[in-house]
């Protein structure tokens, strides 16, 4: 497959991830795992990181089951909260997402998608999960057009998702089923991304959920939170990022942390705490463009 060709333009970002978790009844023992470190890949490189927690416990960097770096913190003392801060510097290359040729033979492209070899190689991201299974009654909602290429279809889907859902915070949470999002037509970046993935997978295009940071500045949605977008696999090209919340292709403003089948694989914080009481979680993200080269 052809990789993305890049120009020699690069951007440097500073990222702050900050979270406060408090536990009403206190904890005897706890384990937290943060999935917030930007990935090192062809288009981005982490040049600096620093972690801090206010419990005085060690921050250990580990690698999770899907191959992404995590930070683990274990506490064996009696505590009632944890404040955790991560600071990164990331160098991101300029990306031209259109830097490839559209296929001349649409039938061949489709045949490739339907081949056994392709399906086997991409099985993980063709697999439908709880959040990315298109409900039966909504299957004709957005149909792929066989007269245009996969990439064009995905671009249309990206636009359609952006138009179809209204961005609204506080109306959905991490457990809202896809059918509710389709019916009520609102949600946040996670919901936009799940819908995009569901429709792409339903049409046989491998698609994965991406969690990361979005550099603001152009009035994009996703302010001071972790952002989510999708990556779809376009035959003969590779993985391309689609941001349906903003009707964009992923660019140098999208700093990727990890990908997975859906949000469940990408939750920025997982914790095992031994407590009976309620807990409260707050977090904020700040992305700043340091300089352009």
């Amino acid at each position: 497959m052809a990789g993305l060709k890049c120009r020699y333009m690069s951007y440097e970002y500073e990222i702050d991830y900050d979270t406060q978790n408090s536990y009403e009844k206190g904890l005897n023992e706890a384990f937290w795992q943060f999935l917030v470190i930007p990935e090192d890949n062809e288009t981005q490189e982490v040049s600096y990181w620093h972690f801090e927690n206010d419990l005085g416990e060690r921050n250990s960097v580990s690698i999770n089951g899907l191959g992404f770096k995590t930070v683990q913190v274990r506490s064996k003392k009696q505590v009632d909260h944890i404040n955790f801060n991560a600071h990164f510097k990331v160098v991101k290359k300029e990306i031209n997402p259109f830097d490839f040729e559209l296929p001349s033979d649409l039938e061949a492209e489709r045949a490739h998608l339907n081949s056994l070899e392709f399906k086997v190689d991409h099985e993980p991201y063709l697999r439908k999960t709880r959040f990315t299974t298109l409900p039966e009654q909504h299957r004709s909602y957005f149909e792929f057009d066989r007269s245009i290429s996969i990439f064009e279809n995905l671009t249309h889907l990206n636009h359609w998702t952006f138009e179809h859902l209204y961005f609204k915070t506080g109306v959905t949470d991490v457990n809202t089923p896809l059918s509710e999002i389709i019916e009520k037509r609102h949600g946040v970046c996670q919901d936009f991304t799940h819908l995009f993935c569901a429709i792409a997978k339903y049409n046989g295009v491998p698609c994965r959920y991406v969690s990361g940071y979005l550099h603001q500045g152009h009035g994009f949605f996703g302010d001071s939170q972790m952002h989510a977008w999708a990556e779809a696999f376009v035959p003969n090209v590779g993985w391309i990022g689609f941001d349906p919340t903003n009707d964009l292709l992923a660019s140098h403003n999208h700093i990727k942390v990890c990908h997975g089948k859906d949000y469940t694989d990408c939750a920025p914080l997982k914790g095992v705490v031994y407590t009976h009481g309620a807990n409260e979680t707050k977090y904020s993200v700040f992305v700043k463009a340091a300089q352009q080269q």
């Binding site: 060690r58 580990s62 089951g65 274990r74």
Partner: protein
């Protein structure tokens, strides 16, 4: 020699037509291997037998080899029913079983390596991709993980039956956390206590070397760079129905029996919390389902597991036996492909038979299925746990027509198998104070390690205690028998 039917203890034993009896030939003669045993047992009265049986029961009860039954008021403890009349397998038959069990375990191990690496068998169209993509036990976290010595299914339990044709057939492979091995040993102990005299007349292999072999295996798959590995057994806890087995195995191996809360992970190393502080753990024999071993990776609500364990495993700092993700190879749907899997990886013919499977997706086989539904069991390919199964000889005419229509409408979704008949074995029935024919199966235990294979010479013979019942599971009121493998 006269037939044993004359003996007092078997005076009311009835042989039914069409059932394969393990002890008596179709003409009523005792099979030679059982002759001596029948002479010894037969000279006793049923009263002797009743009293021995009660002694054996109280021995189990006092040793606390029990399981809980939850009733209306308070929970009650019950023993697993144990039958004092042993099952004998002669050395020739055993050789086939042993070789067959190893062959299956090795082939399934190759299969696991393949589906977590190049997936050649899928790309070569031997096993359909749907079996991976529809399996909740196919763990993507295991992709490209290289377990020590390339072993995934360190411990397998293979369920084998003898059909009315006198041949052994495999019904099921269990390669997640197969249980039952402690009962093999307990049964032997109980039988020795009650009837030690009979052992003088038979050269039987011991079964007490299982723990030793298991420990050797666990040590052989230690993480690289570790000299004297610390092994532990992890259990869900004392309320698990197999807790006795977990504690037995830990004790017999002389290793710690831990629960999730006894372990913790720091910097990708696993430690157990001891009175003298943390001690590093190198090999974990897990008796917790893989989806519960680490809430960071799998079920987030699991309190049985250890947060961070999987990352430590993936990094190679601890070995898990069995490896996570083995469940993909013992799904019912994969079972039908095991003969193909054996041929594909080992280039051998299967030594133990599979129950023949007709794939309705293949036109000739579909034709056969539609014509013979009354002699077949029809199963959906992708449903687990016994859903949607139709047993031909129990269907009415209308129901047969319905099933035919459903299968014809979607032949790819269905497979069919002949209705199997499990062999029967004389079994003492408490309520009737007499011996009767009961269906039995055999679970063998295979251990794969670094360059080593071992099958416990014995295995668990499970008995369906209800008359005519084919389900031998202990949850369905099944019992068990001591199983003797003869040396010559």
């Amino acid at each position: 020699m006269g037939t044993a039917i004359d003996k007092t203890i078997f005076s009311s034993y009835v042989r039914k037509e069409g059932l394969f009896d393990e002890v008596f030939q179709s003409d009523g003669e005792v099979k030679s291997v059982y002759q001596k045993l029948l002479d010894l047992y037969g000279s006793r009265t049923i009263e002797d037998y009743v009293s021995l049986n009660n002694k054996a029961k109280s021995s189990f009860f006092n040793q606390g080899i029990t399981f809980q039954v939850y009733g209306d008021k308070q929970s009650q403890e019950k023993i697993f029913p144990f039958d004092l009349f042993p099952r004998i397998i002669d050395s020739a038959e055993w050789e086939t079983i042993e070789k067959g069990a190893i062959q299956r375990s090795l082939a399934l191990n190759h299969f696991l390596w393949d589906v977590y690496h190049d997936k050649k068998i899928i790309k070569d169209n031997i096993v359909p991709i749907e079996l991976l993509s529809s399996s909740p036990n196919y763990l993507h976290q295991m992709m490209d993980v290289d377990p020590p010595s390339k072993v995934y299914n360190h411990i397998s339990g293979t369920d084998i039956i003898k059909h009315s044709d006198g041949d052994y057939y495999v019904l099921e492979d269990n390669i997640r956390c197969p249980s039952g091995v402690s009962y093999v040993i307990c049964n032997r102990t109980a039988l020795k206590r009650a009837l030690f005299g009979v052992f003088n007349h038979y050269q039987t292999y011991t079964v007490t070397d299982y723990a030793e072999n298991l420990l050797n295996l666990l040590e052989s798959v230690k993480p690289p760079g570790v000299d004297a590995p610390v092994c532990v057994v992890i259990t869900p806890g004392m309320f698990n129905s197999a807790y006795y087995e977990h504690s037995y195995l830990a004790k017999a191996m002389g290793v710690e029996l831990v629960e999730g809360r006894d372990l913790f992970v720091e910097n990708d190393f696993v430690y157990m919390k001891t009175t003298q502080g943390p001690v590093r753990v190198d090999v974990v024999y897990r008796r917790i389902d893989d989806l519960f071993i680490d809430p960071m990776e799998f079920h987030p609500d699991s309190t049985l597991g250890v947060p961070g364990l999987f990352a430590a495993y993936k990094k190679g700092n601890v070995t898990l036996a069995n490896a996570p993700g083995t469940g993909v190879a013992d799904d019912k749907a994969i079972y039908t492909y095991v003969p193909d899997i054996i041929k594909y990886y080992l280039g051998e013919e299967p030594i133990l038979k599979n129950v023949h499977t007709y794939h309705c997706s293949r036109p000739d086989e579909l034709k056969y299925v539609l014509e013979n539904i009354k002699d077949l069991v029809i199963k959906p390919v992708d449903e687990a746990g016994g859903y949607g199964i139709s047993i031909g000889n129990k269907l009415t005419k209308e129901e047969i027509e319905k099933v035919k229509a459903v299968v014809k409408a979607n032949p790819r979704k269905y497979v069919a198998q002949p209705i199997m008949s499990l062999s029967v074995h004389p079994t003492y029935i408490d309520q009737k104070e007499s011996f009767e024919q009961r269906h039995v199966d055999l679970r063998t235990f295979t251990v794969l390690g670094h360059d080593q294979q071992f099958v416990l010479k014995g295995g668990l013979t499970r008995v369906a205690l209800k008359e005519g019942n084919l389900i031998v599971n202990s949850s369905q009121g099944g019992g068990s028998k001591d199983t003797w493998v003869l040396k010559q």
